[in-house]
């Protein structure tokens, strides 16, 4: 439980990740405390090299912390066995990457059903789930397309559908709009917004201020540590029209 009394999906205490040793020691993540509430959309922002991607890898069990504790839905995972961690990554965490990481030789629907098949679901159930997810992300008519036949925005939406295949506790996204133009970014933001409304917990590391501005909470990271936290509550000082130079 965190301060507000709701359940934390992700809970980190004193999380640290070091590379190299002695003079060459780099603290990529340097003592991070973090609680992500169920259903929350959290954005972590910072310049490249600030440690935000390393942090996301730690949260997702893709990498092990050098020190600190990490809990996912109440379960301590920083000391979990490799096998247990692999199962956790497959069943409880959805990953979204900047470069999509779709399998080039598989169609959109085959990519999306893959995590469910790996989790041991029947081909029929996995396919049904994948088709439903592609519909949810607006790609029902692209199910049989190879990634190479999809636009950047469509590929990322397929990748997000894949991340949802096993109903993850949390979706972790690393620069999900980094390779997208303005219009495709808007598609992905709309999709994140609909996931948020459906109660999905999302942690997004990014330097795209559009994502940061639409998250529930924004954390700024510098040199491996959190330096600022913002909740964008309250209205703006002006109305929308004033932003476009229209007088009221």
């Amino acid at each position: 439980m965190n301060e507000s009394g709701s359940t934390s999906v992700v809970r980190a205490r004193g999380l640290r990740k070091e590379y190299g040793k002695e003079a060459g020691l780099v603290r990529a993540v340097d003592g991070v405390d973090l609680d992500v509430a169920t259903g929350e959309t959290l954005a972590v922002m910072g310049p490249s090299g600030c440690g935000k991607s390393t942090l996301l890898h730690l949260l997702g069990g893709l990498d092990r912390p050098s020190a600190g504790e990490l809990h996912l839905a109440g379960q301590r995972i920083d000391r979990m066995s490799e096998k247990g961690l692999a199962r956790l990554r497959r069943d409880a965490i959805g990953f979204v990457f900047q470069a999509f990481h779709l399998m080039d030789e598989l169609t959109a629907v085959e990519n999306v059903e893959l995590p469910a098949l790996l989790a041991g679901r029947s081909p029929r159930a996995a396919r049904r789930r994948a088709a439903g997810l592609l519909e949810q992300v607006g790609l029902a008519d692209r199910a049989r397309f190879l990634p190479s036949a999809l636009s950047g925005g469509q590929r990322q939406r397929a990748a997000i559908a894949r991340a949802l295949a096993n109903d993850p506790l949390v979706v972790l996204a690393d620069e999900p709009t980094g390779n997208l133009d303005s219009e495709a970014t808007l598609e992905v933001l709309r999709l994140f917004d609909s996931l948020h409304k459906a109660g999905q917990t999302l942690v997004i590391v990014t330097h795209d201020s559009r994502i940061a501005a639409t998250a529930d909470r924004l954390i700024s990271m510098r040199d491996g540590a959190f330096v600022d936290e913002t909740r964008l509550t309250g209205g703006t000082t002006g109305h929308l029209g004033s932003l476009a130079g229209l007088e009221g």
Binding site: S182, A212, G235, G241, A244, E247
Partner: protein, 175 residues
């Protein structure tokens, strides 16, 4: 409402004031929400006095601006043509903020980084409002394009604030 905008909207064909309003609403979407309906008529009246538009009253109705059909005069057409080819762009007022940081630091009155933080929060709030409005627009709407412009500008301002933060952090560390 800028006079030239109303004039240019009239260039398509002689129109009632409410038709111009509808065209403005379509172009601006949610950004036009705070627009006062009376503004178009006030502007049309001014333009008529200036000889840039002429109006015709439908027969047998009272003298009311909302019953009139307005059209451009030759002078009005010339003004529109001039306005369309004129290169103008709003000036971003960055110097004021820049000097605020310098003055605050020099006088020791406030921490420039705190000023940058406050400014960033305000810009993020604006970005959130513009981004939400953009997400609510149907694809390829005219208002969506305007909102995209607002979003891109705010992003540019936020990037400049990052540069301000870097520089002032360095100066603080050095002092």
């Amino acid at each position: 409402m800028q006079q030239e905008v109303v004039l240019a909207l009239l260039a398509k064909e002689p129109s009632h004031g409410y038709q111009l309003r509808a065209r403005l609403r379509q172009a601006l979407g949610p950004l036009g929400d705070t627009m006062n309906d009376g503004q178009v008529y006030v502007t049309l009246t001014r333009l008529e006095k200036a000889g840039l538009v002429a109006s015709e009253q439908a027969a047998g109705v009272a003298d009311r601006p909302d019953r009139k059909v307005y059209e451009l005069t030759a002078a009005g057409q010339q003004r529109v043509a001039g306005w369309l080819t004129e290169v103008s762009w709003p000036k971003p007022d960055l110097a004021e903020f820049h000097l605020k940081l310098i003055a605050a630091a020099a006088a020791g009155l406030a921490d420039p980084l705190a000023i940058v933080d406050a400014q960033r929060r305000e810009l993020l709030r604006r970005l959130r409002d513009a981004q939400r409005a953009a997400m609510a627009e149907p694809a390829r709407s005219a208002a969506g394009l305007l909102l995209e412009g607002i979003v891109l500008r705010l992003q540019a301002d936020l990037r400049w604030l990052e540069a301000c933060e870097r520089t002032w952090t360095r100066r603080k560390d050095e002092s």
